[in-house]
């Protein structure tokens, strides 16, 4: 006769319960073994050539810059171009230069030199702009930058329509910035502790869940990279296609034919001059259209959060519209373009934040741009001179950098 088993015993000895127990035990073991969170393998996480390659060193840096630039490629590109001209470096316009120089660039020395000269004081600038990132990413970057113990005297937030509308980045928590930076475990207790107001607790909880999802993607990517790295060490094979490509580049190649040599020369020449033909418009059409109103509303909230975050740390913040070519702005429906500008202006005004629009005072022409959305060195110089004037001509703004209540510098 079979022994009598109660439903409770059946449940406790069943496969489902055993599986759950194992997962709970695993989770407890991880928490006990790694109380500060799972170890990271950032040295093996392959950020080489990615848009977020600059973020770990930027966050880990001990340098407390006077000015923090927050934005996307709109401000990153002219920073690089102007600095290349400033240091008399050969700039390039090919993908390689973009991946391995522009994406990882975290300075704006030309702009810093202009400010230093006008203010008679060394001004340092950290450039946290990440190519392709949106307001939600910029909020996280600023959040993490301030959380790392650094406190700039001023934050300059550079805005373009792509920060609010990007059909290629509809999931906030899956952007490379989020995956790279978000490592906040869900601590419901912390969030709810002393925070009994639902209207603040719910958004914080939502954010924590979102960041937790990003953490999951980070760890998954990180552990997979680590496993690939270890396997690669054993088998002497490249970890991924990028490294494979690099290895292929080192192999002996057959001599080029005359035609191939001519083509190679044409390609090489193209590296050192921008195309100026606004080929990127087709891409921006896909990015903007159809306009995602819900995304615009969400990113607008993050714009407000950036302002609130800076203000909560008593850091003055300036919002600056990035110049774009008329062909670029024409991609957006006129109503959307007007709404974008009006929204940014209104929200900045509501928060008593200065909002500057360079195109109202400076004439930018086609030669100032390397494509439809990015200023070249010439345009960048105009732009940074304008910014320097705006900062230095306004005593309320410049005193935050000089720590003095007087207007300093000569025109």
């Amino acid at each position: 006769m079979a022994p009598h088993t109660t439903p409770a015993i059946k449940a406790l000895t069943g496969t489902t319960f055993s599986c759950l127990v194992c997962l709970v035990v695993f989770n407890i073991a991880i928490n006990v073994l790694f109380p500060a969170g799972l170890p990271k393998f950032q040295d093996t996480a392959n950020l080489w050539g990615t848009q977020v390659a600059k973020l770990p060193p930027l966050m880990q840096s001990k340098e407390n810059a006077d000015v923090l630039i927050v934005g996307a490629s709109g401000i990153l590109f002219p920073s690089v171009r102007c600095d290349d001209a400033y240091y008399k470096r050969q700039t390039r316009y090919d993908d390689w230069y973009m991946k391995y120089n522009i994406w990882k660039y975290s300075k704006s020395d030309y702009f810093a030199s202009l400010l230093s000269k006008r203010l008679n004081k060394d001004i340092s600038i950290a450039n946290s702009a990440v190519g392709g990132c949106m307001m939600s990413d910029q909020y996280l970057i600023l959040n993490k930058y301030l959380a790392s113990g650094k406190k700039p005297k001023m934050v300059l937030l550079f805005s373009g329509p792509k920060d609010f509308m990007d059909n290629h980045r509809t999931k906030i928590e899956k952007t490379s910035t989020y995956v790279q930076l978000a490592d906040f475990p869900i601590r419901v207790g912390d969030i709810l502790q002393g925070n009994t107001r639902l209207e603040t607790a719910v958004p914080e909880l939502t954010e924590a869940v979102m960041q937790s999802i990003s953490s999951f993607y980070y760890y998954r990517e990180d552990y997979r990279a680590m496993l690939a790295h270890e396997t690669s060490q054993i088998t002497h094979r490249p970890e991924d296609l990028k490294k494979a490509m690099a290895m292929l580049g080192t192999e002996e190649k057959a001599p080029l034919t005359k035609k191939q040599q001519e083509e190679a020369k044409e390609r090489a020449d193209a590296k050192f001059a921008p195309s100026k033909d606004a080929k990127d418009l087709a891409l921006f059409k896909k990015i903007y259209l159809p306009v995602n109103e819900a995304q615009f509303a969400t990113q607008t909230k993050y714009f407000e959060k950036i302002i609130a975050l800076a203000q909560s740390h008593n850091i003055p913040l300036q919002v600056i519209f990035m110049p774009l070519t008329p062909q670029h702005t024409a991609v957006l429906p006129p109503q959307t373009w007007a709404n974008y500008k009006k929204t940014v202006r209104t929200l900045a005004a509501n928060a008593h934040v200065p909002c500057w629009d360079p195109v109202q005072d400076v004439q930018f022409n086609g030669d100032d741009f390397e494509d439809s959305a990015h200023l070249d060195a010439a345009g960048g110089q105009k732009f940074f001179k304008y910014l320097t004037d705006r900062i230095c001509d306004d005593p309320r703004v410049c005193q935050t950098l000089t720590d003095r209540n007087v207007l300093i510098g000569q025109h």
């Binding site: 489902t16 599986c19 998954r220 997979r224 094979r237 292929l248």
Partner: protein, 483 residues
């Protein structure tokens, strides 16, 4: 909503909880609504199509059952209505494309007859279930009385999109039975779901990387590489579809419903006939019962049997997709079955070689040959361009070239500059190939049934953890979704 999506991870437990908490009278309507929501998550307006077809077949079945005269006509029109729906959505563009090609041959102009038609998800599966229903009612089966029961039979979300193709008598019985809550449902269902997810995310999706690499430019590779990609695809498609069936069976089990198995270790089949008894069992039995047998089956002259086999498999191929490559795939399998029939007849005339036929060597040789024959068919399944598929098969069969033309000194796959994923996947294919036989023996001996539940639970937990880390960044939809 894909089985391997976060949405399903929330949807399924919610519906399971509501189902078991609901009173008996509400359970089935609840499941029906959930099934329509599941379908609507893909494209809401198409729920009307499945509801419309359900209503038509429900009332047509009743009409057919009551008919005393013109029964054959009523039955035929019911079948035509279902096939016409399937043909309109699935085959209209294929037909028009073929016409356009014919026009091009004659006039040298290329007209564009393409219609903007969306292929409704799972239409091939639920239309086949309706046809089966009308067949059974026509044969004297009792029509379903309850519309909710009938609608749920067609729309039941675990099997809605990619089968298995259910039989109404078996499923109706389960719906009418009093089905009290049992913990065993979870102990059987959850491991099936976890195993299914593991097959899809760990095996099929990782194999897909190598397969995609190879079959995107088959002309660039030599025979050894093409054989390797084909083996990888054979396992990819097996694990992909088997995974779907496992998750479907596991999900159904959580509601107390038993869905029949659809795969039974097909790659240990010792001949092509055995293979079709193990591969997509619900489809092969459907084709047998509602296509092959009505055409005369095997009770006719030998040449007619062979003709019936070829027609059945050509149409079976077409069922998989509106493309000539699927038809070729079907005909290839039909030809293999015909060849096997003739070989069986030949074997019977050679009693002297009986020792050989019964030897272990012959058994394993047959398994090897069957697997390779199936793999050759899979090339047509994977490469939609028939010309490219034939070229690839030619290379594979002639073993030419052994080395890739522009890499004459080097077997391409062995190149040290290829990323680690390539040798890892190659090793995976080799291991799967070798593990097939011992695994099938263990399954046959029901060895896994004897494993204590806590070991099974621990194994599931390990699989879940492995899935979290090792799944590819993007998971492709299940291959059979397109059918």
């Amino acid at each position: 909503m894909l089985f391997n999506s976060v949405q399903y991870l929330i949807f399924l437990p919610t519906i399971v909880l509501l189902f078991w908490l609901s009173p008996r009278a509400v359970k089935l309507p609840l499941l029906l609504v959930a099934s329509y929501i599941f379908y609507a998550s893909w494209n809401p307006p198409f729920v009307l199509l499945i509801i419309g077809l359900t209503m038509f077949n429900f009332f047509w079945g009743k009409f057919l059952a009551k008919a005393t005269t013109h029964r054959k006509k009523i039955f035929t029109w019911g079948i035509i209505a279902n096939i016409a729906t399937l043909a309109t959505f699935k085959y209209a563009n294929f037909f028009l494309g073929t016409v356009a090609s014919a026009v091009h041959i004659v006039t040298k102009q290329t007209p564009d007859f393409t219609l903007n038609i969306i292929l409704p998800l799972g239409i091939s599966f639920f239309v086949f279930e309706f046809i089966h229903y009308l067949f059974e009612v026509n044969k004297g089966g009792k029509p379903v009385d309850s519309f909710v029961h009938f609608a749920l039979f067609a729309a039941f979300f675990p099997t809605q999109i990619a089968g298995p193709i259910k039989r109404y008598d078996d499923f109706m019985k389960q719906m009418t039975d009093t089905n009290p809550f049992k913990l065993e449902y979870f102990d059987e269902g959850i491991p099936l779901i976890v195993m299914g997810l593991a097959k899809k995310l760990l095996l099929a999706d990782n194999l897909a990387i190598l397969v995609q690499m190879g079959f995107s430019t088959p002309g660039a590779y030599g025979a050894p590489e093409l054989w390797l990609f084909t083996y990888a695809f054979a396992f990819q498609i097996y694990f992909d579809f088997c995974a779907y069936t496992d998750i479907a069976r596991g999900s159904a089990m959580l509601f107390g419903y038993h869905i029949p198995i659809n795969f039974n270790m097909p790659y240990v089949a010792a001949n092509i006939s055995d293979f079709w008894h193990r591969w997509h069992i619900s489809l092969s039995t459907w084709l047998r019962d509602y296509l092959f047998i009505p055409m005369g089956g095997s009770r006719v002259a030998n040449w007619k049997v062979n003709r019936n086999i070829l027609i059945t498999f050509a149409l079976g191929g077409l069922w998989h997709g509106a493309s000539w490559s699927f038809v070729i795939w079907g005909i290839f399998h039909g030809l293999c079955l015909v060849a096997h029939r003739e070989f069986v007849a030949l074997k019977a005339r050679l009693p002297n070689l009986e020792v050989l036929w019964k030897s272990g060597f012959w058994h394993y040789f047959s398994i090897f040959m069957t697997f390779n024959a199936v793999c050759i068919g899979d090339v047509f399944f994977r490469i939609q361009d028939s010309k490219a598929a034939f070229a690839a098969v030619k290379k594979m069969l002639l073993f030419s070239p052994i080395y890739t033309a522009d890499e004459a000194h080097h077997f391409f796959i062995a190149k040290e500059t290829l990323p680690i994923i390539v040798p890892v996947t190659v090793t995976m294919v080799a291991l799967l190939f070798l593990a097939n036989l011992p695994l099938s023996k263990l399954i046959k001996d029901k060895a896994f049934d004897k494993v204590p539940p806590f070991i099974k639970g621990a194994f599931c937990a390990v699989l879940i953890i492995a899935m979290v880390v090792l799944i590819p960044t993007t998971s492709a939809p299940f291959v059979y979704f397109q059918f």
